[in-house]
Each structure stands twice: as C-alpha cells, then as structure tokens.
Amino acid sequence: MANSEMIESVNNVSESGTERQTVGASFCDDPKFSIRNASVFYAEKQAIFDVSVDIARHEVIAMIGPSGCGKSTFLRSLNRMNDTVEDCRVEGGFHLDGQDIYQDNMDVVALRAQVGMVFQKPNPFPKSIYENVAYGPRIHGLADSRVDLDEIVEDSLRRASLWDEVKDRLHQPGTGLSGGQQQRLCIARTIAVNPEVILMDEPCSALDPIATARIEELIEELSQNFTIAIVTHSMQQAARVSSRTAYFHLGELIEVNPTEMVFTTPEHELTEAYITGRFG
C-alpha cells in the first residue's frame, strides 16, 4: 500500500510541474560533462524530464533507480547512441569539456571515439580477439604500423586485465570466451581508442559474482585515467565502485550525492525508499 501511494504522490508532483529540483550535490567545478535541462522523448512519450547534472573528471558516477526510470536512456544520450533510435528526440544542453555535443558541427563518429560505451550484454564482434580490440584503432587510424597496433592491442588487453588469459589465443574468436572475459574484451575494445569517458550500462548484469568482482576492480583501476558513468541495478556495486551516485525515478533525477551518503543518509525520501528496498 505504502508503495503505490508513494509512486502516486511522485506522479502528482511531476504532473503539476512544481518540483523538478534535484537534491544534493549535482554540480561541480570544471566538470568533464555538464548536462543541463536534458529531456529525452521517444516519439510523444517523454522518458527523461529536465535533468541537470555534472560529471567530474576521473570520477565514477553510478546511476541507480527502478527499472524503466530512464537510466539507459540518459546514458545513451551522452554519446548520442539515441541517434540510432527512430524518433528519439533529445533536448537540453550536453557539454563535453565545454563543447555542445548535439551541435550540428559535432561529428558523432569523433564523439563516440571520445565517449566509449560498454553494453549490458557482452557483445564482442564475431571476429578474433585481436581483431575485436584492433577494430577501433583501425577505423580511427590510431596505429601507424602493425607493430603499433600490436602494442595498442596488448596494452588495452592488459589494462582490461585480460592479457594473461588470452595472450596465447589472440587469433581465436572473441565469442569463444566466457561471459566475464567477453565483457572485459568489450572494455578492452573500448579503451583501445583511448576515450575520455566510458559509459557502462549494467556491465555486470550478465555475469557471475567472481566475474563481476573482476570488472569492479577494473573499473576502479580505469577511473585513474577515465571518467566513468555506470548504470547498475546492484546497490552494492554502486557502493563499491562509485564516488557519487545519482538516483533516477520515473525519468527524473531525484538526488545526486557522494555514494556513502546516498546509502547511509539519503536526502530525499524517494531515494531512501528505494535503497531500503521498499520499491524498485
């Protein structure tokens, strides 16, 4: 009973349009990514309502929230993957290092080289492990020679802590790896083009706890060089890997705060309801 009342009350709030204020510390100085008044529509249906938030350099920001609240939609609007969705419309300001990524003269290809993405389900190309990692550098012309490329591949695989497991089978298909290895391969593939931001949409939801732990470790390491935005359904995971956590609810950004604080003393009652498991 309490749940449905809660959700209803939120609905009322958003419909009346009075309260669209995100509580907590959503802004920072000199952000890597700054998003202002972002709204995303699928045809007539609005999936993201007026979200404003900053993503700091080299931080790991976690996005949590009940299913269907728009986490993926928001994440995908950060590297314009939503462009590929028929009749998806994005409004608001998205600035990467001060540059509007939805500007007409912004090249999507270049943007995606800067903002890489790791998907929920491991999706290596049906090619060899080597080719998977080499693909990005190849299409962007990052390697001058075969030796260069070999180096990039090895380096990326090492950084994705996969090298030792695959160094003897680089030319076997990437699809022959285990799920966790495949996901690390996808991460290696993403970091091979040396992006600045990595978006991860529930990267561990298809993996067992051990594989998950490895990826989490990896995220921690990567955060030294990359800015990472990660969507997760596991609050423990958010707590383990992120420095800040954003809580989404029905397309609205409810609260952004340091992770510790979100999970111990949330500011907003909806956040509290979610993390204490009253709905989700």
Partner: protein, 426 residues
C-alpha cells in the same frame, strides 16, 4: 483439500483427451509428409524409368571403305571439297555390301533408313580426325535411325514396338543382332550436341550452355542490385511512407506471375532498347527482373538477422554507418544472401514462361558460344521436345528433365552447404 483432489481428477480426465489429440496431430503430420514423399517418389520413378533409356543409343557396326572415288574427295585439306563430298554414299554402299539380295528402290530406301541421316557426317568427322584412313576399310559403329533405336530398345525390353519398322528392316536387324553388330552404347551425342530434328542426333548441350550464360547474366545483375537495394532499405532508408510503399511493392513483385516479367522484357528491352531477341543476355536480364524480389527479400531477412547488438557495438566504437554495414553487417549476412541468391537462381533455371515471351523458344542447332548468340535454355528445350511427335523424343524429354533436376538439386544442396559452412557464429 477436497478442492485440490477435485481439480487433480479433472486434470487427469482431460489428460487422456489431450494425449489423443496430440497423437492425432502427430499422425496428421506424418500422413502429410508421407503424401508429399509419395509424390516425389512417383515423379522420380516415372522420369527416371522413362528417361534412363536416352543415355544409351543403338549403334550398328558396318565395314566402311573410305573410297575417295565414292565420296568424291581426294584432298582432305580442301574444306569446300570436303563439305561437298557425298558422305552418305559411304553408309549406303557399306550397308548394301553387308546384306545381300537388296534390290528395288523400296528395299534400298528402307535399308538406307536403318541408319541415322547424320551417320555420313559422323564418318566425315572421323576421317578428318584420322586422315590416314582415306582409301582404307574400317569396321565402325554407326548411329541408327531413331525408329530403329526405338524398336531395338523396346525389343530388348521384351515388348517390341514395330509400328514404324518394316518386315525387311526387322530381318536386317535380326541379322545384325545375330552377328553381334547391333548394340546399345553410351549416348555421347546427348551431351555434346545441340538440338536436332532427328531425335538420335539431338543433344542438350546447346540448352545447357544457353542456361549457363543466361544464369550467369542473371546472377551478375541481380545479386549486386538485390543486395544493394536490401542494404539501403534495411540500413539507410528512413522509415517513411515512401519506403513502406517500396517495401510492399517489392513483396508484391515476388508474387507476380513470371510471364508478366517476360512481357515487360519484351516491351522494355526488345522494343524500347532494341536488344536482339533470343539471346542469353536478354534472357538473363528478364530473369533478373524475376529473381530480384526474391533476392531482395532474402537479403533483407539475412541483414535483419544480424543481431542489433553487433551494430550497437560498432556504432559505439565510433564506426560510421557505412563502416558498420561493410565491416559487420555484410560479412555476417553474406551466407544468407548467397543462399537466397542460389535459390533465386534455381528458380530462374527452371523458368520457362518469360523466356518464351522473348523468343528463346527458337529451334537452335548450334551450341551458343557467347552472350550474344541465339540460344535456348533447358526448360524450354524440355518444352520443345515434349511437343515433338517422334516417339524417341519422349525419352529425351525425360532425360533432359533429369539433367535439369540434377542441376536444381545440386544448387539447392550448395545453398544448404553454404548455410551450414558459414553458419552464424555469434
């Protein structure tokens, strides 16, 4: 508790009925399959039993004397003289020497009618191959006339069909058989010659080569065009009313009777563009019209079956749309596209109606040597032969059907093999 018992009883009561229904269903399916198989077996036994005979022909052995005076040829290097030579007289003289007591015009004519009208030319070819034989006598196997062939084969089967042979001819045949000078031999002619009015000299090579050229043209045109259209529609075209309209029409096109495509070819290619009729190039173009919808539809299905996650991955890496298509979608969809193309080609191979419209039904003796030679194709050849009155063409028809079916089976197996070989690996 009683409630639970009650529903359990009900479930059990309904179980028997459900199992019965299931058994009925399975049997229905089995019957349907058996029915279909039965027809296949009937078709194949009928065709094979009728057509098997065509792979062997009756030959008779005669002692041929290559007498220069008789042929009127002394110098084999002079083509004009060779062409004007009286080659038939070689056979006639040898036949008269073989059987004594042949007198009177009627008897002579009947004797000459034992042998194929092409036997003399075969001897000419033999002599040209072995010029040293000029002036010598050789014991050679000669092709007999189709009526004799039919009679001899039916006689071997135990049920002699003597309607078109005379008493005298049967007498001669008896003599030949007795001396071991008449037998069935492998019918090379069937595979090395084009069509002929004389059944014993008719072969399918012309039609086979015609079919080959026609299919080649059709494949070279329809595969790139079809794949291009499919890629555009699937990957690039905005989903608008307009593309929807195109899609619906392509699907409709696949259901248009093939003769309509023939009419279209006639109107557009022949009348408007002035392409000569009856040539493989034109046939291939018409068959392209016909197979395009099939290829587009199967190619689109193949492209659709490439999982979106692969596309997303590539796009997420910063690949442009054409790179996504070229590097990922096409390689993964290629087996499916090829399968579709081969099946489309198999369809085209068996197609008759549109080719009739563009004049590929002509009686053509020469084996075509290029895209621009007049030609016919296998199914049309079958149609032509099945329409011929000579009894010997019946088995030719069935034999040609066997060859056609053989090709179709090979092509379909190739399609299956390709699909198996390059099975999707994700």
């Amino acid at each position: 508790m009683s409630n639970a018992n009650n529903s359990l009883e009900r479930v059990q009561a309904s179980l028997a009925r459900r199992y019965r229904a299931e058994r009925r269903f399975v049997w229905y399916g089995r019957l349907a399959v058996m029915f279909a198989l039965l027809f296949v077996v009937i078709l194949f036994t009928d065709i094979i039993s009728k057509g098997a005979g065509a792979f062997r022909l009756t030959y008779a052995r005669l002692d041929i004397t290559f007498d220069p005076a008789l042929i009127g040829v002394n110098d084999l290097s002079d083509r004009a003289v060779v062409a004007a030579g009286d080659w038939d007289s070689l056979v006639k003289t040898a036949a008269r020497a073989r059987f004594d007591g042949v007198s009177g015009r009627k008897a002579k004519r009947e004797l000459n009618a034992l042998f194929s009208s092409g036997a003399g030319y075969d001897l000419k070819d033999l002599l040209l191959e072995n010029p040293a034989w000029l002036g010598q006598t050789k014991s050679l196997w000669l092709l007999v006339d189709d009526d004799i062939d039919t009679y001899f084969k039916s006689r071997l089967d135990g049920e002699a069909y003597a309607a078109r042979v005379s008493e005298r001819q049967i007498d001669w045949i008896d003599q030949l058989v007795e001396d071991g000078d008449m037998e069935l031999r492998f019918n090379q002619t069937f595979f090395t010659r084009g069509d002929s009015r004389e059944p014993e000299q008719a072969g399918i090579r012309g039609a086979l080569v015609g079919s080959l050229f026609t299919l080649l043209v059709a494949f070279c045109l329809s595969f790139p065009i079809g794949v291009g259209a499919a890629v555009y529609l699937e990957e690039f075209a905005p989903k608008s009313r307009w593309t929807e309209f195109i899609e619906v029409n392509i699907n409709n096109l696949a259901a248009v009777p093939s003769i309509i495509f023939g009419m279209l070819g006639l109107a557009v290619f022949i009348n408007f563009f002035g392409v000569p009729r009856s040539i493989p190039l034109l046939g291939g173009m018409v068959l392209t019209l016909m197979t395009l919808p099939t290829i587009i539809i199967t190619s689109r299905a193949a492209i659709k079956s490439v999982p979106p996650s692969i596309r997303e991955a590539a796009l997420g890496m910063g690949a442009s749309r054409h790179q996504v298509v070229l590097h990922h979608v096409l390689p993964l969809a290629l087996p499916g596209m090829l399968t579709g193309a081969i099946i489309g080609m198999a369809q085209a191979l068996g197609e008759t109606a549109p080719l009739l419209m563009i004049g590929m039904i002509a009686f053509i003796v020469d084996v075509p040597t290029g895209m621009m030679d007049t030609a016919t194709v296998l199914p049309v050849q079958i149609f032509l032969w099945s329409d011929s009155p000579e009894r010997a063409f019946v088995e030719k028809t069935s034999a040609a059907i066997m060859v056609l079916l053989g090709f179709l089976i090979v092509m379909n197996m190739a399609a299956v093999l390709i699909r198996k070989r390059l099975e999707r690996r994700w």
